[in-house]
């Protein structure tokens, strides 16, 4: 038999509650209890509202660049809902909804985008890593964190999120390959929102799916409608089950869409058609669940109004907490460089307002030392006013 089959593969796509409101009973029935569904819905609404708040903060100069999550809430939320709270969730920067579900404080995320590292000092019990700006790098850390947990006898798994764009980075390949070959239980979730800033997803992959990125490593791969919370939950259940029971990684593509600009620094109208965006607005993960709940009498306008009031208050409080924190002291960035600050850094910190770096102050004549002290005092006063 000179031509034989060396390998065959098939990837399935999961959809349960589609954009027209069709609900697949077979897969969807009992998948999410009604009480949970309401809470999940509320979480999505809250996350969406925070996007708007953040947008306004940025526009009024109270926050730096911010990436909105709008339209993608069901992806990370579905994963977060399915994962155990002590599984690692290792994300990028557009997974707020899933992080908040785990209990990550909103002000932590806000602080990050307000240019304050203290937003990254995530308390460990949430088993999340801080926001990663450099793309594609976090999946390897997810693999390492999980391997460390297994080494210590814990049965944790990890779920790591990354975009269609990020899946082009070499580190993506290395992470999947390490997890597969070293047998590390990680669920890799590619959040395909069709764009990487202005770059359409076909420039990041000409293949029919992103799900097939996992075939390279022999992983089981699934694709799902990422705007369908039921589908993301179903797909994550299957995937988490597989990974927890075998100790092996698997691969998921969630197909979704970024309804907003890439970040507040971006203007998406430069590169994509309104028609495309409008079409996707009709596939919004939030309205889809609201319609479903309304039809099933789980939800009504009064509840919606009450919810909006509540999330506005909650989010305003989170902003207040983020903005209420004392400014970091001006030499704060010296203090977490090493467990023990090297002597040279201590000198740099202590003389940062009085001398130039190479200067050994004791070499200066007394008048110069005095002038240096004066300048430092003036600078401190100026800083206090700025």
């Amino acid at each position: 038999m000179p031509i034989t089959t060396a390998y065959e593969a098939k990837i399935e796509r999961i959809s349960i509650l589609d954009e027209k409101g069709n609900f697949d009973e077979k897969l969807g029935k009992g998948l999410i209890p009604d009480t949970d569904l309401v809470k999940l819905y509320e979480a999505m609404v809250s996350c969406r509202q925070l996007d708007q708040v953040a947008f306004r903060l940025q526009r009024s100069g109270r926050m730096g660049t911010y990436p909105q999550n709008m339209g993608q809430e069901a992806t990370s939320l579905g994963a977060s809902y399915v994962l155990r709270k002590d599984d690692w969730m290792v994300t990028c920067y557009r997974e707020n909804c899933g992080l908040f579900w785990r209990g990550v404080p909103k002000e932590a995320i806000l602080l990050h985008w307000m240019g304050d590292e203290r937003g990254n000092a995530m308390p460990k019990p949430h088993w999340v890593t801080p926001i990663y700006v450099p793309l594609g790098t976090q999946m390897l850390h997810a693999a390492g964190l999980t391997m460390a947990a297994r080494y210590k006898g814990e049965d944790k798994i990890a779920c790591t999120f990354f975009g269609d764009g990020a899946s082009s980075e070499g580190d993506f390949h290395e992470a999947c390959n390490f997890a597969s070959n070293l047998k590390i239980p990680v669920v890799f979730v590619c959040q395909n929102n069709f764009w990487a800033i202005s770059t359409p997803s076909k420039i990041n992959s000409a293949a029919p799916t992103f799900a097939q990125r996992g075939l390279s490593y022999g992983m089981p791969c699934l694709q799902c409608d990422g705007n369908d919370l039921f589908a993301t939950v179903y797909t994550m259940k299957k995937s988490v089950e597989y990974t927890r029971s075998t100790g092996l990684p698997c691969f998921v593509e969630m197909v979704t869409y970024r309804l907003g600009d890439h970040t507040t620094a971006d203007d998406a109208s430069r590169y994509r058609d309104k028609a495309e965006v409008d079409a996707w607005k009709n596939r919004d993960p939030i309205t889809r669940i609201r319609d479903y709940m309304t039809a099933r009498k789980l939800w009504d306008d009064a509840k919606e109004a009450a919810l909006l009031t509540k999330v506005e208050e909650e989010n305003a409080a989170a902003v207040a907490r983020a903005e209420g924190i004392d400014a970091p002291h001006r030499s704060d960035f010296f203090d977490s460089m090493y467990a023990e600050t090297p002597q040279d850094l201590v000198v740099q910190r202590e003389t940062m307002h009085t001398h130039s770096l190479g200067q050994d102050p004791s070499q200066l004549p007394p008048e110069a030392q005095e002038r240096a002290r004066q300048m430092a005092a003036e600078a401190a006063a100026a800083h206090a006013n700025h």
């Binding site: 660049t65 240019g115 990487a196 590169y271 001398h355 130039s356």
Partner: protein, 322 residues
């Protein structure tokens, strides 16, 4: 002659050289329809077509590796790395390949390529969007490293880079992308790679700087009542040590200013060379005003990290008081 900011000057240089040289191609993340996240390549895809100006997958090693191949194949690629913080994934292709190709093949293959990279702090950007890695590449033989500090220089240096037969890292200080305008000739001109500019002359002390820091130095000089000479290196490698040495031999004192961390920053090389060349003329140790030896902080504290006119002034005083 037009009144242009740095972004426009670069854009103009690209247009004019691309019109002259059909072998120049531009590639990178979001440089096409979007014109780059800083709009430096705005309008170029429309003007030159998708074959000459194209978006790539999101992978910096890929962008540089592909460009090396393009250059070996006879083109002059101009890859953009979106922010200097994302040079990291491309480090190996730049330093192990682009930099070595000519020497490892004794000239059989060469890599004429201009890597464009926004660099430095001061624009309230997210993490890894505010660094200054020029010393890393100055320490890598085979590369040239350029950093303009004004629109006029930006155009002249970029045209020179686009005609250079060797790989050039062209760092664009994003803090001054739109900070000011100046007259930039429409007509063709180049500024030689490897030559510094004396921004202003003086006799008491020499300041050596490059990129956005030159602006902070000018502010400090304005406030000072001393006669200070300011040298803008323009090129980090090969650097114009003759200009620096000549000035320091005259003034006897020197302050070097840059954003990158102090230790092993390019200021250390300048200081070491000044000692070597001007030992007998030096009246005080060279003072360095630089980023501290810490990670560049997130933006709430970036102004406390970056050298500013105050810190330059302190160094001038320290140096003169010595």
């Amino acid at each position: 002659m037009a009144n242009l900011n740095l972004v426009q000057a670069i854009n103009l240089a690209l247009i004019q050289e691309m019109e002259k040289n059909p072998d120049i191609v531009l590639l990178g993340e979001d440089i096409g329809v979007n014109g780059g996240v800083f709009r430096v390549t705005e309008g170029l895809q429309k003007r030159f077509g998708e074959k000459r100006v194209f978006d790539t997958p999101l992978a910096e090693s890929g962008i540089i590796g592909l460009s090396i191949g393009l250059a070996m194949g006879g083109l002059h690629p101009v890859p953009e790395i979106q922010f200097e913080g994302f040079l990291g994934p491309a480090y190996d292709q730049i330093c192990s390949h682009a930099a070595r190709m000519r020497s490892r093949t004794r000239g059989a293959f060469t890599v004429p390529m201009t890597i464009r990279i926004p660099v430095g702090g001061g624009i309230h950007a997210p993490e890894l969007h505010s660094d200054s890695p020029e010393a890393i590449y100055a320490h890598t033989p085979g590369l040239k490293v350029v950093m303009p500090s004004s629109p006029y220089d930006a155009k002249g240096l970029l045209v020179a880079a686009l005609r250079d037969p060797d790989p050039v890292l062209y760092f664009e200080p994003k803090r001054i992308y739109r900070a000011f305008r100046e007259e930039v000739p429409e007509d063709e001109y180049t500024l030689p790679i490897g030559k510094a500019r004396t921004v202003c002359e003086g006799t008491d002390l020499t300041i050596v700087s490059w990129g956005a820091s030159v602006i902070q130095c000018m502010q400090a000089i304005e406030k000072s009542d001393k006669s200070i000479e300011l040298i803008d290196l323009r090129t980090i490698y090969p650097f114009d040590m003759d200009a620096v040495a000549e000035s320091v031999k005259k003034t006897g004192r020197c302050v070097v200013v840059h954003e990158a961390p102090l230790t092993c920053g390019f200021g250390s090389e300048i200081a070491a060379r000044i000692m070597e060349k001007c030992f007998l003329e030096l009246e005080a140790p060279v003072q360095r005003v630089a980023g501290f030896d810490t990670t560049m902080p997130y933006y709430k504290l970036e102004l406390d990290y970056l050298p500013d006119a105050n810190r330059v002034t302190r160094a001038i005083e320290d140096c003169l008081a010595y």
